[in-house]
């Protein structure tokens, strides 16, 4: 939203007059290549790299905050992966292992493989 709509300034100005520093860095079109890309605004979505996108503990989608975090509108609710490659909300898992040191899905001993960031 706050990105500058840079080229809007150059309306009705001949290309040759263009002199912003950024466009100087870009290659100028030449006779062999009639079209040159100067600017690209690309969009992507991110999600956790998981096999199953629902947390088996609280049954909420992993891309959403776990139930407790939703209730408390707290800061960050990230995803955690075990060695078994099962994934849960980190908060859910943290509470879970206090009563059971095994993965709730496969019953293997719970070892953290990585924590989402």
């Amino acid at each position: 939203m706050s990105r500058e709509y840079e080229s809007s300034k150059h309306e009705d100005v001949a290309m040759g007059d263009e002199s912003t520093s950024r466009s100087e860095n870009c290659p100028q079109p030449n006779a062999n290549r009639p079209f040159t890309l100067k600017k690209w605004n690309a969009a992507a979505t991110w999600c956790w790299d998981v096999d199953c996108d629902t947390c088996a503990i609280c049954r909420v989608h992993l891309m959403e905050e776990c139930l407790r975090c939703q209730a408390e509108t707290s800061s960050e609710c990230v995803c955690v992966w075990g060695e078994c490659n099962h994934s849960f909300h980190n908060c859910c898992m943290a509470a879970w292992i206090k009563m059971n040191p095994r993965c709730p899905l496969c019953q293997q001993e719970w070892v953290v493989q990585r924590i989402g960031k």
Binding site: S7, M15, P29, P34, L37, K39, A42, T45
Partner: protein, 833 residues
């Protein structure tokens, strides 16, 4: 009665013969004094004379007491003696006053009307004053003999002043009261007819009615005429009985007749003005010379005959006044009808009907244009709403019932009208869509941006309409979609304005309603930071991407779903994405990026259209296509297909957009939206445009409004189910056990600010949640539900499904002894820390 009592005691009074004999002498002096007092010669009553009369009474009473003490040791005898002399003096006084009053009555008894009033008034004023003087002279009798009689409960004896009033009432008032009241009422009627009258006499006479309200049977009331602290109901007894009742009756007759006469020729509006004036007059009249206690019954009587019995008339006129925008008269009618019981009911109904009618009529006028002109649609609605919210505010002082009429009517014509009907299957969401589009129009960059204050006002107006939208979740869908476009395409005019509207929505519908919108703004900020870091990372590591690259990383699930696009990107762009991905994975852990090429755009410089150089804004698919023309000036369609890896329909659409944009030429037209494989696509070297910066991306992205509406509608039901599920779980978490119908009612109540959930859907959701083992029918109380699966308050952690299955087994087993179930569930719901 009193005389009998006196006779009764004579036998025991031998010892007071002296005092008795004295009385004749004493009375001679006293009656002379009383003559002076009662016959209007008070000027002769100087202080010495007054004191000597007082002393006579004193000496007489005191002397009797003393002689009684000397001759009789027995206490009862003493008191009997005193009784007797006191009584005799009292009787003489009473006789004297009665004779005086009867003479007065005889003197004025033949007069009627105003003459009677004048005389009655004059005599009353004199009598009352004289009696006060008399009361002073007999003060010793009051303080001793009378006081003792009163203390002993003798209710036939009065303080001398009260005695005087009593005699006046019995021997004069009761004989003349009907004539006096007639005269009062005549005089009042003359004033009502507009003739000037002297009100001091009326006021004085009416005061006599009040003064005469002494109660002969209640000891506590006996001193009231002097001390004035009796309760006012008793005090007003005579007034009410002999004046007020007749006055009210007469008033009703008078105004009933007046109203009928007036309405034969006069208009209702004139009638209302007249009633207003009459109500005022009567209130003043009552305040001026009638007792204040009559205000309420008088107002009631007037309201009855002037308003209540004419309600139908008002109701019939109300619609016409609304039509003619007669706000002042409407206010007048409101004030009158408000005074009587249920007087506003019909008006409220009529107002609601009228506003709804006006709303529909205004919208009907612009149906065709407004269908695709959100601004016109919203301003039409606001025009009607403002007109009537002003009316309700000013004429009806925002009375809650009228506000409700406005709300009901607005809800009616905003959610269902000729424009929404035109949308056919999208009728239910048409208003939401148009309102969201109107917001988009306000918040999008445009040539003439409104001032900040003006914009704020416009956003407030949006909220007025929003308040009435029934399916607020549908609005949210449309809004989110347009908001996401504004953000992604950098078309939002002001972040402050965006945030301001989001806050207004939040105030209306709560935090949850806008949480995604807020997260979207956060994503934008994070992306901006990330791009900055990426740029410095590139310059630090000496990498030149060869393009000004901006990347938005959006949290999936937070943004509306965006269509996928399959396309082989130019080498350079692929390189950019790989570079960014590597950078992103350094910053984050466990995240997966999905490029949404359909939402990506770029700027391409072209130098092939001599003599000018142009800068084109293109979608990513268009970029990939024009990049092909860096290799050759013309292609067969099939060649483009294979090198871009796109499907035929999509590529045809992209090619067509650039053909329409005059950048490319085709050898044959596309058929049914698709090009034949052997169609030749070539660069239009003759391209020319007076602008050097040309946006062709919009041609490729032209949005089909009805398709858009389709996709929104499709998701509504799914999303509602999710929201209902969350709500059911929330209720269960709080209540633990809840009866089926209560649960449904609670869910409807909690969600009412967003949409009206259908009971069927809630039931289905409950069923699904039970299947998923979130809850279960209780074994003891068949109609209640139980959170089986879910949370415990301390940890917020659920019992996992294997654990809950175990519980189910236990529960099944326990069905044989159901009273234990609760116990077990309670244990399970508290996993140890």
């Amino acid at each position: 009665m009193a005389a009998m009592n006196g006779l009764h005691r004579t036998s025991a009074a031998a010892g007071v013969l002296t005092a008795s004999r004295n009385l004749d002498d004493v009375w001679l002096k006293l009656s002379e004094g009383l003559n002076t007092v009662y016959n209007g010669q008070l000027a002769d009553m100087n202080k010495e004379r007054y004191m000597s009369l007082y002393t006579e009474v004193y000496n007489y009473c005191a002397c009797v007491n003393t002689s009684a003490d000397q001759h009789h040791e027995h206490r009862s005898m003493q008191s009997h003696g005193a009784d007797l002399v006191g009584m005799e003096m009292y009787r003489k006084l009473e006789n004297y006053i009665r004779n005086h009053v009867v003479a007065k009555k005889e003197a004025m008894g033949s007069f009627r009307g105003e003459e009677l009033l004048i005389r009655y008034h004059e005599e009353w004023v004199n009598f009352r004053f004289s009696s006060q003087v008399m009361n002073g002279i007999f003060q010793y009798l009051n303080r001793h003999w009378i006081k003792r009689e009163l203390d002993e409960g003798n209710n036939e004896i009065y303080v001398t002043f009260t005695l005087a009033l009593m005699v006046w009432r019995q021997s004069l008032f009761m004989q003349l009261k009907d004539y006096v009241t007639d005269a009062l009422l005549d005089l009042i009627q003359r004033e009502r007819d507009g003739i000037k009258i002297s009100t001091t006499i009326i006021k004085g006479v009416i005061e006599s009615y009040v003064d005469l309200g002494i109660d002969e049977y209640e000891p506590s009331a006996q001193n009231t005429a002097i001390t004035g602290n009796a309760n006012s109901r008793d005090k007003l007894r005579v007034y009410k009985e002999h004046f007020e009742d007749r006055f009210i009756k007469k008033t009703e007759e008078y105004y009933s007749a007046e109203a009928s006469n007036f309405l034969q020729n006069g208009s209702v509006v004139e009638y209302m003005k007249k009633v207003e004036k009459r109500l005022d007059e009567e209130q003043n009249r009552c305040g001026n010379y009638i007792n204040e206690a009559t205000q309420i019954p008088l107002a009631k009587a007037l309201e009855k005959v002037l308003i209540q019995s004419r309600l139908e008339l008002f109701q019939n006129e109300f619609g016409g006044l609304l039509e003619q925008h007669k706000d002042e008269d409407l206010a007048r009618m409101y004030k009158l009808c408000e005074r009587v019981d249920r007087g506003l009911d019909e008006l409220r109904i009529a107002l609601e009907r009228h506003i709804a009618k006006e709303g529909h009529a205004e919208i009907d006028k612009v149906t065709e244009q407004a269908f695709n002109d959100p601004k016109l649609y919203v301003s039409t609605i606001l025009y009607v709403h403002q007109r009537y919210s002003k009316l309700v505010g000013e004429a009806f002082v925002n009375e809650p019932g009228f506000l409700q009429s406005l709300d009901k009517a607005a809800t009616n014509f905003i959610n269902k009208n000729s424009v929404t009907l035109k949308a056919e299957k999208h009728a239910a969401s048409k208003s939401s869509e148009l309102l969201a589009r109107h917001c988009d129009g306000l918040l999008r960059k445009s040539a003439k941006l409104p001032e900040e204050e003006e914009l704020e006002k416009m956003l407030d107006d949006v909220m007025i309409v929003f308040k009435y939208i029934e399916d607020k979740d549908v609005f949210s869908k449309h809004y989110t979609k347009m908001f996401s476009k504004r953000l992604i395409y950098d078309q939002s005019a002001s972040e402050d304005a965006e945030v301001s509207l989001i806050n207004k929505l939040k105030q209306n519908c709560g935090f949850e309603y806008t949480s995604k919108l807020t997260k979207m703004i956060t994503d934008m900020q994070l992306s901006k930071d990330l791009c900055g870091k990426f740029r410095s990372h590139c310059s630090d590591t000496g990498k030149d991407l060869g393009v000004d690259l901006n990347i938005l990383v959006l949290t999936s699930g937070t943004w509306p779903t965006m269509p996928p696009l399959q396309v082989q990107l130019p080498e350079k762009l692929n390189g950019c994405l790989e570079e960014f991905k590597a950078f992103y994975n350094q910053k984050h852990n466990g995240r997966k990026l999905n490029w949404i090429l359909s939402q990506s755009r770029g700027e391409v410089a072209a130098n092939c259209f001599k003599p000018k150089k142009y800068l084109f804004t293109l979608t990513t698919a268009q970029i990939a296509l024009v990049d092909q023309f860096n290799r050759s000036e013309e292609f067969e369609f099939s060649a483009l297909l294979s090198s871009l890896g796109m499907d035929k329909a999509t590529l045809s659409q992209v090619v067509n957009s650039l053909v329409k944009g005059l950048l490319l030429k085709h050898s044959t037209e596309a058929e049914n939206g698709e090009y034949a494989n052997d169609t030749t696509i070539s660069l239009n070297k003759a391209y020319t445009n007076k602008k050097v910066k040309v946006d062709l991306s919009k041609m490729a992205m032209r949005v089909d409004v009805s398709k858009e509406a389709d996709s929104v509608q499709k998701n509504v039901d799914e999303d509602r189910k999710a929201v209902i599920n969350a709500c059911i779980v929330r209720v269960l978490k709080m209540r633990r056990r809840i009866v089926h119908n209560d649960l449904i009612a609670e869910v409807i109540q909690q969600l009412s600010s967003r949409f009206k959930p259908k009971v069927d859907m809630i039931k289905r959701c409950i069923g699904q949640l039970m299947e998923k083992e979130y809850m279960k029918r209780d074994a003891n109380q068949r109609v209640s539900y139980f959170v089986l699966h879910l949370l415990n308050e301390q940890t917020g952690v659920s019992i996992s499904s294997y654990f809950s299955k175990l519980l189910l087994l236990i529960a099944k087993f326990i069905r044989f002894c159901p009273y234990q179930t609760h116990f077990i569930f309670n244990c399970v719901n508290l996993p140890n820390e």
